[in-house]
Symmetry: C2
Subunit: 244 residues, 2 copies
DNA sequence: CCAATAACAAGAGCACTGCTCTTGATTTTG
DNA sequence: CAAAATCAAGAGCAGTGCTCTTGTTATTGG
């Protein structure tokens, strides 16, 4: 189905791409709220009504941009993982490299980030087409931990009883081969990573965190510990700083 | 300045409250994107132009709702803290109670939550009026850890060198009396808490996490560990689950 | 007490928006 | 080559935020 049948079909995918490109430009410049179908059409020199032949509604256009954004950040994470693996970096270093790549993508594309990890703009339920691309970053994080498990094992606390079934299901579904203890810490770290990034991108760290690079590195290193990496490192908990 | 001068002033605060109430109703029902000044005016039986005597723009109305939302979730967190303290709960139990209260508020008010912890809707920078209410939840978390520090001390890893100055500034500014090692773990846990909640509220856990209560409890217990609570508990890191 | 002043409500109107329907031109297909 | 599908464009609808103008109240100073 990769052959283009005629001039019409060729023009169609070309115009579709042009619409998405212009929409991305407006998204980058002004954010999702200000994205206007009429403005896109105006910039492309066509009637606004003609645009509905390519995207049946504004929400459908936004969904296409959402998928592209998920793919973009997923690609960044995967690229960082590839290079870290090629450099034979430690598993913690790979974890940090991947999370750093996600953070840097978010800072470079704040509006796209807000589109996919901020408030869901169109309706409530994410369209089916987004769930695949949406999981790419999570899969990379799983891969890092799975690699570490295979070579060094993981340092993890025992599994809570009431999460046994949940954890078994999770590893069976998303991370075959990982021990069940790794499941909930991994999912938690995944969401917490985006908590760190969201607070930075959305300005919640304004006048709170200044050296954000160092702060982030420290936070994700701790996150690496909670998913079982860094188990054989230095003593985790030195004698507590005693109270008064 | 609490005395109401005349019928005019009394009517003014009454109408202002009515506008905010109706706006909150629409926000709750449809979300921030669908909130319409004209619809609010229509529902209140007044002309849309009359509304501009009370709020100079739609964004100003939204800002008022943002402040109220921050106050609402802050109040929930503070109430949970008060009752946990009154019951002489352990510090970890207090931590869990506060985080649970925030989560439950978020699940009960998803649109308000999205308004304050999702993508920033109006412009880019948060108005000055929001920074005070916005910090209330964070202050409660700090209070929990500060109490624990005073009575039991905290179990924290040593401070990284490149975060020394940052940590000193943080504790001086937001958490006087806390040791500098507590600063960055606390800020990180604060943002990560909202990562957990955002993923649940925004549907990212759909078909990933099923038993969300148990998962959340486990995740915030781990978060309690990273901020230094639970230091004297069971062994943190048992022998790793060895790899193949 | 009454006029000057300020605050108010309402209406009309502007420039937008998403979206639909109809009309006419173009391309693909039987 | 004719029939059918696809496309572009215009007009139009209902809705939005916001402004300006015109009256109408309530508060205030002389």
């Amino acid at each position: 189905m990769s052959t283009v049948r005629g001039a019409r079909e060729r023009a169609r995918i070309e115009v579709t791409a042009a619409i998405k490109d212009e929409a991305k430009k407006q998204l980058m410049a002004e954010g999702a709220a200000k994205l206007s179908l009429r403005a896109v059409a105006r910039e492309l020199g066509m009637a606004s009504s003609a645009l509905y032949r390519y995207f049946p509604s504004r929400d459908e256009l936004l969904t296409a941009l959402i998928v592209d954004a998920y793919d973009s950040v997923g690609e960044s994470a995967e690229a960082a993982h590839r290079t870290a693996r090629a450099e034979a970096a430690t598993h913690v270093a790979r974890w940090i490299a991947v999370t750093r790549a996600v953070r840097e993508w978010a800072l470079a594309h704040p509006h796209e980030y807000a589109l996919i990890y901020g408030s869901p703009v169109p309706g409530y339920t994410a369209p089916q087409a987004t769930i695949g691309p949406a999981s790419r970053v999570g899969l990379v994080l799983i891969a890092v931990v799975a690699d570490a498990y295979r070579t060094d094992g993981l340092a993890l606390p025992p599994l809570a009883d009431d999460l046994r079934a949940e954890a078994d299901r999770m590893v069976a579904e998303f991370a075959p081969g990982l021990p069940p203890q790794a499941a909930t810490p991994l999912i938690a770290a995944w969401s917490q990573l985006f908590g760190l990034i969201s607070f930075e991108v959305f300005g919640q760290f304004h006048r709170v965190v200044e050296d954000r690079e160092a702060f982030f590195r420290e936070a994700v290193t701790e996150l690496a510990r909670t998913v079982g990496l860094l188990g054989g490192g230095a003593a985790r908990r030195p004698a507590g700083t005693a109270g008064p």
